[in-house]
């Protein structure tokens, strides 16, 4: 034994029934041994050949030929006194070859001594030496190999995790035990810490699809010494994400944020995700089914998008429209219907039949109703900072409280915008990781061919060329579209369900590996990566960010508040000096949509004096002199035109 090799723990054996091959072999160890399923070993042949392998199966048996002999010996009584001699027992292990040096000629594993792998051996066995020691290193720590009482960092290759060679990561396992979200959170921290700057800037967009999973990524978690030791060994800062922006749609009331991150201490850091007609129209296909979008309707939608929305448009009856909101669109539709009616009941307008126009109107205007809170009838939107994404930043989009249709819209639009900007090279970063949980819901293996599924397929197949990388998670990999999971170069498995492991997709795993997967403790994973010829088990530290459940306990969400209070609270979050009474006085008697618009404008502008800006956006209140005021209350607000700070 030399200084850099471990002691001999076993010997390779081969029989006619159990021969040693170039890919698999068997070896025995003492009954008491430190190795187990998942341990990495090395075999040193006398001729200098070295074989690295991972233990994938183990058996123990004695010289007892038939169980009946044991029954006979005990005279049928299992409680009989223990035998004076323990039968000779063997521990026979099966090793799956990870690497042979030299690689050629590829030969059966020699019948030689077996040793535990050292940290240096692990690096070579998993072919990590090629990228850990490269300049610049593309190694991304994913966890620690901890078998056989030894710890060694395991690295993924950024070129194969984030492109361009291959890309995408898929993680699966049962809910609550597989620690999927924790694993992705840690991996994002690791990517941000180790992704080489020479490869460009990188950011992550995480969709929070259930509960508070990703709601507290900027809050520190309690870590124990073991976790901190792992962070240190992996050279990843044990800190929550420093640069994080949090987006959530509003609730149907238009003022309360639809998120569990509503605690007073955190609510100010949540930005509303509000889209108007402009943002939604290009993605109406997501919200409308095939029955809605026939060729005629599609043509009319194109007409609206090309000729009407965002442009000054003259109808055929002297009206001029600037359609930038659903409200304005409705006015246009009303003008068309009125115009057709007053001109003799014509049923065609600009080559579009009135029935088609009515159908499209109903479907489009219904969007703002179905996605109320996310889609506004009014002008003005608040969106992710496309074009100004920052390096090593996380953008969390909380759609947990949004109905499935709205979630589909959010996924589709955000990812499509990311792709557009990456194609143009003006996103602000060169690489974006998109994390989507519950992938079996959004890209199912069966069911209808939805827009969202097509989009996820597109990312998984072409995203790596753009720098758009999908980190997907789900309970059951077998239920996700095979092209989506198949294109993920790196696959991570947490605790798995036995029924899932019985699916054909897991046939390559040994029974022992499946059992280990089915009983995997929290914080342990099995990883497949292009450089690893066999799956590898590893541990990772708990995320340095607060987990959802603990976050909810530490920052309990607050109940929805009345309109006045919500406005006051949101303004107060921008400037602590703003008191509720002043805000309530200011908005008294105002229409809610005007107040919402003013609040949104204030948020977007981020002025030094939010209350003044808000007041300016609301405009002055003047007494109505006409008796036909639309709301009959004698009051009407004026919108500011030039100076937003005008009194």
């Amino acid at each position: 034994m030399t200084a850099d090799t471990a002691p001999v723990i076993g010997r390779v054996v081969a029989t006619e029934q159990l021969p040693a091959g170039p890919h698999q072999f068997h070896f025995w160890t003492a009954t008491h041994t430190s190795i187990g399923i998942g341990a990495i070993v090395r075999v040193d042949a006398p001729d200098g050949r070295v074989v690295y392998a991972v233990v994938i199966d183990g058996r123990a048996y004695s010289d007892l030929v038939s169980p009946l002999h044991d029954v006979l010996a005990a005279e049928g009584d299992p409680a009989v006194t223990a035998p004076p001699t323990r039968r000779t027992e063997i521990r026979l292990w099966t090793g799956a070859v990870l690497r042979q040096i030299p690689e050629e000629p590829l030969q059966p594993v020699p019948l030689a001594e077996v040793r535990e792998a050292t940290a240096a051996d692990v690096e070579i066995a998993l072919r990590m030496d090629a990228y850990v020691r490269a300049t610049p290193s593309t190694a991304i720590p994913v966890g620690m190999y901890t078998a056989a009482g030894m710890r060694a960092p395991i690295y993924l290759d950024a070129d194969f995790l984030l492109g361009p060679e291959s890309a995408h990561l898929n993680i699966n396992g049962v809910s609550g035990l597989a620690t999927k979200t924790s694993a992705v959170t840690f991996l994002l921290q690791s990517v941000f810490a180790h992704f080489p700057a020479s490869k460009g800037r990188i950011a992550a967009v995480c969709f929070n699809v259930k509960g508070p999973d990703l709601a507290f990524l900027d809050q520190p978690a309690d870590l124990d010494d073991d976790d901190r030791a792992m962070y240190a060994a992996l050279r990843v800062p044990a800190e929550p994400f420093g640069r994080l922006r949090y987006f959530a749609p509003l609730k149907a009331d238009g003022v309360n944020l639809n998120t569990l991150r509503s605690h007073e201490d955190l609510a100010a850091s949540v930005e509303p995700l509000i889209w108007g007609l402009r943002e939604v129209l290009d993605y109406s296909e997501v919200l409308l089914n095939r029955d809605d979008i026939d060729a005629k309707a599609d043509a009319f939608l194109d007409f609206l998008a090309d000729r009407v929305v965002g442009k000054r448009f003259d109808d055929d009856w002297g009206g001029r429209h600037l359609v930038e909101s659903f409200t304005a669109l409705e006015r246009l539709f009303r003008a068309i219907f009125d115009g057709l009616e007053t001109t003799g009941g014509r049923d065609m307008w600009r080559t579009h039949h009135i029935a088609t126009i009515r159908k499209v109107r109903n479907r489009l205007l219904n969007i703002s109703t179905r996605c109320k809170g996310l889609v506004t009838d009014d002008e003005g939107a608040h969106d992710l900072p496309f074009g100004a994404f920052e390096d090593r930043s996380v953008y969390v989009v909380d759609v947990a409280g949004v109905d499935p249709l709205g979630q589909d819209l959010v996924f589709t639009r955000v990812v499509s915008k990311l792709r557009e900007h990456l194609e143009r090279g003006d996103l602000g970063v060169e690489h974006v990781i998109v994390f989507v949980d519950e992938l079996n819901k959004y890209a199912p293996g069966d069911g209808p061919d939805t827009y969202v599924r097509r989009m996820l397929l597109d990312i998984s197949e072409r995203g790596r060329y753009l720098g758009l990388v999908l980190f997907g998670a789900q309970q059951f990999r077998s239920q996700v579209h095979r092209r989506v999971v198949g294109n993920a170069s790196t696959t991570v498995y947490g605790r798995m369900d036995m029924d899932e492991l019985a699916m054909p997709g897991y046939a390559v795993l040994s029974p022992a590996t499946k059992i280990k997967l089915a009983t995997l403790p929290k914080g342990e994973l099995m990883v497949r990566h292009p450089h690893f010829t066999q799956p590898i088990f590893l541990k990772f530290p708990r995320p340095a960010s607060l987990a959802g459940r603990q976050g909810i306990e530490q920052f309990p969400p607050v109940a929805d508040v009345p309109f006045d209070d919500a406005i006051a609270r949101q303004l107060s979050a921008m400037d602590r000096r703003i008191v509720r009474a002043r805000v309530v006085d200011l908005i008294a008697g105002r229409r809610e949509d005007e107040v919402r618009a003013a609040l949104l404008a204030t948020r977007r502008a981020k002025p030094s004096d939010p209350l003044a800006y808000f007041r300016a956006r609301l405009g002055a209140v003047i007494a109505t002199t006409r008796g036909d005021a639309p709301d009959g209350d004698g009051l009407r607000s004026l919108k500011p035109v030039e100076d937003p700070y005008a009194p």
């Binding site: 010289d63 038939s66 002999h69 044991d70 010996a73 006194t81 004076p84 001699t85 323990r86 000779t88």
Partner: protein, 269 residues
């Protein structure tokens, strides 16, 4: 003589040893009609501590056996240059392949006996209080220092030492019973104290099923210890040494010594 129940089984003291030997031979060639036979003998003592057997004394020897007196001087010199010890066997009256082989076997058996003696002697010296169980008659082990701690376990019953009613009692012992201790006297052999012990019920089928004869060197303490030794042996019924055909009389540790030696010798020959 009466059948004596030995009582509940009780394991032998921790640190007991079990000794056995094996032998192999192969005809390597001939000088004319003179066979050159290569022999291999091995012996080992496995010591049992906390139920686990491990080898504490081993002896291995590989050698040639030829009727040296039928070799020419150059032939003898050539054999000695092989590098193995050359032992002489009985040349017989004339060459005869079967008789020559039998004569070589006699030599090999003596070498095996010597190997067992060496291994047993090493154990008895190293473990002054340790009991040693031998497969078969005590034989030459009786002369070793500590020979009074050797227990011979005889499985074959080719020679009967009792007559009349005593023989009936011995051969029809119920399970868990032993005979009284008696002296075995055989011409040309050292006298021994011995008794029969039934490990497994014979079930009216085979009188010898589960019947073992236990040997001890003569001594005043032997009769007093016969009960304890019998209880120790009764405890050795489990684990059984099946599928060995002699499992009813071959105790598992001795079976393990044989397995150990076969594994060590491997594919010799």
């Amino acid at each position: 003589m009466a059948a004596l129940p030995v009582g509940d089984a009780h394991p032998a003291p921790d640190g007991s040893g079990f000794v056995d030997g094996i032998q192999r031979l192969v005809v390597d060639g001939h000088y004319g009609l003179v066979p050159v036979i290569r022999g291999h003998v091995a012996a080992a003592v496995l010591e049992r501590v906390d139920g686990v057997l491990s080898a504490v004394a081993t002896e291995f020897e590989e050698f040639l056996v030829v009727p040296v007196r039928r070799l020419s001087a150059p032939q003898h010199t050539a054999l000695e240059q092989v590098g193995l010890a050359v032992y002489d066997s009985d040349p017989g009256a004339r060459p005869h392949p079967i008789v020559d082989r039998y004569a070589a076997l006699q030599v090999i058996e003596r070498r095996r006996e010597r190997a067992e003696l060496a291994a047993a002697g090493a154990f008895l010296r190293a473990r002054p209080g340790g009991w040693l169980f031998r497969d078969g008659s005590i034989g030459g082990l009786a002369a070793l220092p500590g020979g009074d701690r050797v227990v011979g376990l005889v499985k074959s019953h080719e020679t009967q030492f009792l007559d009349g009613e005593d023989l009936v009692v011995a051969l029809t012992l119920p399970e868990g019973c032993r005979s009284g201790v008696f002296e075995r006297i055989e011409e040309g052999r050292r006298p021994m104290l011995t008794w029969y012990l039934r490990l497994w019920p014979w079930s009216e089928l085979d009188l010898l099923h589960g019947l073992m004869r236990v040997e001890r060197c003569p001594g005043d303490h032997v009769i007093a210890e016969a009960g304890d030794v019998s209880r120790w042996l009764l405890a050795e019924r489990t684990p059984i040494s099946a599928p060995d055909a002699r499992w009813d009389r071959l105790i598992y540790p001795i079976h393990e010594v044989e397995m150990y030696l076969r594994a060590r010798v491997g594919g010799w020959g």
